[in-house]
């Protein structure tokens, strides 16, 4: 079944935090940039999927989330 909306939102927030910590993702705070943010986040998801050898879709699917929830080192995988 599709994930219930609040679970989806929770996962999205978790993923944002993960991408900020390890993939140098910076979200534009202003709501004017909502579409731009979504694209930017999709790019960062693609970067993370590529690093871990997952299928590169840019979507926050189950496998990608599971990988994000693995215990890991706190150092970024890519850096500016």
């Amino acid at each position: 079944f599709p994930a219930v909306p609040e679970k989806k939102e929770e996962d999205t927030q978790f993923a944002k935090k993960y991408l900020e910590s390890f993939y140098d993702f910076k979200e534009e705070k202003s709501s004017l940039f909502k579409a731009k943010n979504l694209n930017h986040m999709a790019d960062k998801i693609r970067e993370m999927q590529s690093f871990f050898g997952l299928e590169v879709t840019g979507e926050l699917n189950r496998k990608t989330l599971d990988m994000m929830k693995q215990p890991r080192c706190g150092i970024p995988d890519v850096r500016s």
Partner: protein, 369 residues
């Protein structure tokens, strides 16, 4: 593999480290052993040498902390981020932090994280490596529970660290060849009994003579006590307490079998030596009198193991009380009512009670030469 931007690295081969605090999840000796083994992984494939210091600033400061701990990267409670470390540099550069909210373990279990594995990864960062996307490499960012007995670095890790620090040049990945058992010029650093066996130490090696086997076993010291670097000055066993003490420079360690007692090393002054004594040449315990003789230069001290204090009237001259064995000693042990003293490639058998020289032999007479 990857490195940090501009590939920072240590511009020297001798790097120091200091363990600032400990996790309550493990014995201190096990934490020290895990850290020492993690460093050994990297020193075995580079010219780097790691020395532990016990005070002041070290290049790599190792600590356990939870949540916010004074840098910009707070930890996040159990799971998630386990640890982090900084690339080589001054100040926080090189330091490694471990999340105390995790359960740290000596072995790989499913109820915690193997400190050796995580430390080996973090120290890779402390030396300048970034993350690797090679599954199975130590520098892969995700924790992989593995059997760590005889753990080997992945080729990707070796390629990465050797891109920063050229491959092992002067120090071959294995210690210099062990001297021949029957070399007539063989000398020893230290000798002790241990639970009925006799251990002969030289450099990073130990010869192990057991009453149960005719063969002499050859090992490296680190295979018994990974966090002890070789080159002991002296060693002796107090059989009644199943304790062996090792001396190196102005420090000493106590072990019981393979385990190093917590709280060690201690300064040799804590035994009662004056600060003028910077190292012990040899030590031997007389289990009849419960006294231990410490040999320093041409003198010796007597230490009462019961009262844990030096006896009055010492130091005394070795030549005055042990006739015929000369003025200084390299190593000593006691067996079957005799002291065996070693100087250079000679060995002197002395009757303990009469302090009388019985005979002189070659130092390696115990090796069935």
């Amino acid at each position: 593999y990857s490195t940090f931007p501009y590939s920072p690295k240590w511009k020297k081969e001798d790097v120091t480290y200091r363990i600032l605090n400990y996790t309550p999840d493990m014995l201190q000796a096990d934490v020290e052993e895990a850290i020492a083994k993690a460093f050994q992984l990297w020193s075995s494939v580079t010219p780097l040498r790691f020395t532990r210091v016990y005070s002041g600033q070290a290049d790599i400061m190792i600590s356990f902390a939870a949540g916010f701990h004074g840098d910009f990267y707070s930890f996040d409670g159990p799971g998630g981020t386990l640890a982090h470390a900084y690339p080589p540099g001054s100040g926080i550069g090189g330091d490694a932090h471990f999340d105390e909210d995790e359960n740290w373990t000596k072995f790989t279990t499913y109820s915690g994280y193997n400190l050796f594995l995580v430390a080996a990864h973090e120290l890779g960062h402390s030396l300048g490596l970034g993350h690797s996307n090679v599954f199975g490499a130590l520098m892969y960012p995700i924790y992989m529970a593995k059997d760590t007995r005889d753990y080997q670095l992945h080729q990707d890790d070796i390629d990465g660290i050797q891109a920063l620090y050229e491959p092992t040049r002067t120090t071959p990945s294995k210690p210099p060849p062990r001297p021949e058992d029957c070399d007539p010029h063989l000398t020893f650093d230290a000798i002790t009994t241990l639970r009925g066996e006799t251990l002969f130490f030289k450099g990073s090696y130990v010869w192990r003579k057991s009453p149960y086997f005719s063969e002499i076993e050859h090992d490296t010291i680190s295979s018994f006590w990974p966090s002890l670097i070789g080159g002991f000055d002296a060693a002796y066993e107090v059989d009644k307490t199943d304790r062996v003490l090792f001396f190196k420079d102005d420090q000493y360690w106590a072990v019981s079998g393979y385990s190093i007692e917590s709280g060690f090393p201690k300064p040799i002054q804590s035994l009662g030596f004056p600060t003028s004594v910077r190292k012990v040449d040899a030590a031997v315990h007389d289990h009849n009198t419960k006294k231990t003789n410490f040999f320093v230069g041409n003198k010796y001290w007597s230490f009462n193991e019961n009262t844990q204090s030096m006896e009055r009237g010492y130091p005394r001259k070795i030549a005055a009380d042990f006739r015929g064995i000369g003025h200084t000693i390299d190593a000593a042990f006691q067996k079957n009512g005799y002291f065996y003293f070693f100087r250079g490639s000679n060995q002197y058998q002395v009757d303990i009670k009469k302090r009388k020289l019985i005979r002189t032999m070659k130092s390696n007479s115990w090796f069935n030469c």
